[in-house]
Amino acid sequence: MLPLEGIRVADFTWVWAGPYAAMVLATFGAEVIKIEGHKRPDMIRRGVTGWRVRDDPTAIEVTAIPSTGFHALNMSKKSVTLDMAMPEGRELARRLAAMSDVVMDNMRPGAMAALGLGYEDLRKLRPDIIVLSSSSHGQKGPYSRYEGFATIHQSIGGQSYLTGYPDDGPSPGPNDTDIMNATTTAFIIMAAIYHRQQTGEGQFIDFSQCEGVTSLIGEAVLGYQMNGVIPERMGNAHPKYAPHNLYRCWGVDRWIAIEVHSDEEFAILARAMGKPELASDPRFATMEARKKNEAELDRIIEDWTRWRSLERLEDELRQAGLRVAMCQDYRDLYADPHLRARGAFVTIDAPVMGKLELVGVPWKMSDCQPVFRPAPILGEHNDYVLRELLGLSQTEIEELRRKEVIL
């Protein structure tokens, strides 16, 4: 039996961070019902942002069929359409929320309350409900109305400043912050479910995505208070270890990462390079000396790596017992024999597009096989939700469809 079987989640989130959090709950067996307005569905369903329509990038085509990106973030969910601009839509949403254990949203602060779906409204319908609202800055405070997305949160939270070349500007990441915040969200929702199982008590969780970033640079935040030094970008360098960098290999944009943590490891590297004398060279014999002469050492190493094939070099140095890795692009990742052997990718049979190989979830559990189904077509489960869960008759459903409350 899956850990979240029997838990129903009403998922009012969209784009990246919210949907992936709800997807994680679905892979653990929760029944996650994604609520979208069919006139304004999740923008990741759209071609350009979700990667589907290539021929005309100007057409922000809204389609019911999930795009590849939409699958990557919404697998294993059910879909219902409700036009929340209409009172009937809001009423049905309230009824659905009241039948759910968890309600999640990532709308701007106050938006759910304005729809009559705020925590205070919902707890009257269901006292033990768990509601999580995720936003850029949290529900309250002077910045709470400022909106943002992954790279903005990463920058405000302090991570972007620390990433990049030391002689160039800071770098936000490739939307990894949304996945990180989603992971944090899934964790705290499950903790709240655990609490409810123990005590019967529900609660409201106010989640700030900027704070989610700052919680992962705690040592920098404390360090500045200790010594007054603002930490700067270090490229691939480490405060103590050397060599610790990426080195060019043969070909176009091919790089090997090598990190050496001890003199013994450096001796192994020196032998592999056919220059065992480097290990006793006073410039490089100790970690302190290597760190001091790092630029020179990096040049020597790269003069060696640049004439070698990345794959073979990685193999050779790995077998010698060193911490090395290819800097993998998306083709390398899909082809990575280790990732494939571990089943890091999952294959779904997507409507229209057919078989798609997507990234799964990053945990393997001996007694919990994660659920992976294609993301739902827009409104795919309207009948199930309206008839079976909410008990509406066929006539009522047709009336809603006629009024365009549902698709």
Binding site: Y20, V24, W51, P57, A72, L73, K140, G141, I152, I156, T163, D168, S171, P174, D176, T183, F187, M190, A191, A192, Y194, Q198, Q203, F204, D206, C210, G212, T214, S215, G218, E219, V221, L222, Q225, M226, N227, R233, G235, P239, H244, N245, L246, Y247, D253, A257, I258, R323, A325, C327, D329, Y330, L333, Y334, H338, A344, L356, V359, P362, K364, S366
Partner: protein, 408 residues
């Protein structure tokens, strides 16, 4: 106030550096009883700093202090049979074991998954390793640099490189460790929920490489739809990161109404006034042509002021904050995000709190990071019921680290 969520949940953390300890902190700050097992020389995070201006000190490493709140600590030599026996008894006592040693480490000590689960059938064993416990690379080592690049984030950094001949970079800090700790906490929480139903524990196998991969879910777009996948942008950089008079800011007025608001904010300059700029598609293809003018204007602004003006008008933007900026954030202050923690050796600092404010069960730091071996006696004598005599014997053997300044 209700009691803590995880009060009564017993955790043994046999882990060093960031990933395992951050998982332990997440559980500890929610009320779990976390006992951290360190080697006699201490967790290497104690050597990492940053440190106060007075220099390195095992009890004052910012990294260690931050990721080890709300735990008790024992310093144990598990390579001595008596020390190993203490670990074995702790595992028997625990609900959760967090371990980020190489897959074979505990196995070679006679504590494989099979053995620990027969010792304690309800045990949730959270194992965090560089490449996971199975597969051709199961026994290889890896750390921040190698894992961020083997998992896929690294190849895309820095995100607006202008020179393909410069190598990709890692993320700053300990991103892989933290991301790994979060993933481990999710799976551990799921296993605790599963245990409520089944009464059984389970083995969780976290590969840090896969954790990094999980953060680049968009690779499917590259494979199936040819979406560009490179740190060098497909078109010359126009917006995004810009330099201000006092640092950097991220500006992204992508949609038409946002662009219009941004042009207004700049004072409707001549060079952005043509009707062609009203088209999002046109801007996407041509905006780098007016990037120098935009940069010229932004360079005269201060990052926080520009943020308030722009974000107030609904333009997506955000200052690229330093830790100093973060500490001075009025928003964080208003939410009470930072929590003051006083440590007996390091003193009092503001620690980052949690991005989740919970109405019923607020997380809290129940204690500062433990001194090395601080709770040796308490854990052995009160938790594991060793006698005073046995405890002293273990100290003499060197199985547990004698704490020189141990009180009592």
């Amino acid at each position: 106030m209700s009691k803590s969520i995880l009060s009564g949940v017993k955790v043994v953390e046999f882990a060093t550096m960031v990933s395992g300890p951050y998982c332990g902190k997440l559980l500890g700050d929610l009320g779990a009883d976390v006992i951290k097992v360190e080697p006699p020389g201490g967790d290497p995070a104690r050597e990492c700093g940053p440190f106060p201006a007075t220099g390195p000190d095992k009890e004052q490493s910012a990294l260690f202090l931050y990721v080890n709140t709300s735990k008790r600590g024992v310093a144990l030599d598990v390579e001595k049979p008596e020390g190993l026996e203490v670990l074995r008894r702790l595992i028997k006592w625990a609900d959760v074991l967090i371990d980020n040693h190489p897959p074979r480490y505990l196995e070679n000590l006679g504590l494989s998954w099979k053995e620990v689960s027969s010792l304690n059938p309800g045990l949730v064993y959270t194992s965090i390793t560089p490449y996971g416990r199975t597969g051709p690379r199961a026994n290889e080592e890896g750390d921040e640099l190698t894992l961020i690049h083997s998992g896929g984030i690294g190849y895309l950094l820095p995100t607006r490189a202008e020179d393909i001949t410069r190598p990709p970079v890692k993320m700053g800090g300990y991103a892989v460790g933290y991301y790994g700790g979060l993933a481990a906490a999710v799976a551990t929480m799921a296993a605790l929920l599963g245990r409520q139903k089944s009464g059984k524990g389970q083995l969780i196998d976290i590969s840090l490489q896969e954790v990094v991969l999980a953060h680049v879910r968009g690779i499917a777009g590259a494979r199936y739809h040819g979406v560009p996948w490179n740190r060098v942008p497909a078109v010359p950089p126009a917006m995004g990161r810009m330099k201000t008079s006092d640092g950097y800011i991220l500006i992204a007025p992508v949609e038409n109404h946002q662009w219009k608001a941004f042009v207004e904010l700049m004072g409707n300059p001549e060079w952005a006034s043509g009707p062609e700029w009203d088209s999002m598609f046109y801007r996407g293809q041509h905006m780098f042509e007016i990037a120098p003018q935009i940069q010229g204007w932004v360079l005269q602004q201060r990052k926080q002021d520009l943020y308030h003006q722009g974000a107030g008008k609904g333009i997506p933007m955000g200052p690229i904050n330093t830790v100093k900026d973060v500490l001075e954030s009025p928003q964080y202050a208003a939410r009470g995000y930072f929590v003051e923690v006083e440590h007996p050796k390091a003193g009092k600092y503001k620690y980052p709190g949690w991005p989740y404010q919970m109405s019923a069960t607020p997380p809290r730091v129940s204690s500062p990071a433990p001194l090395l071996g601080q709770h040796n006696r308490e854990v052995l004598c009160s938790v594991l019921n060793y006698s005073e005599e046995e405890y002293r014997h273990l100290q003499q053997l060197g199985a547990i680290k004698p704490v020189t300044d141990e009180r009592r």
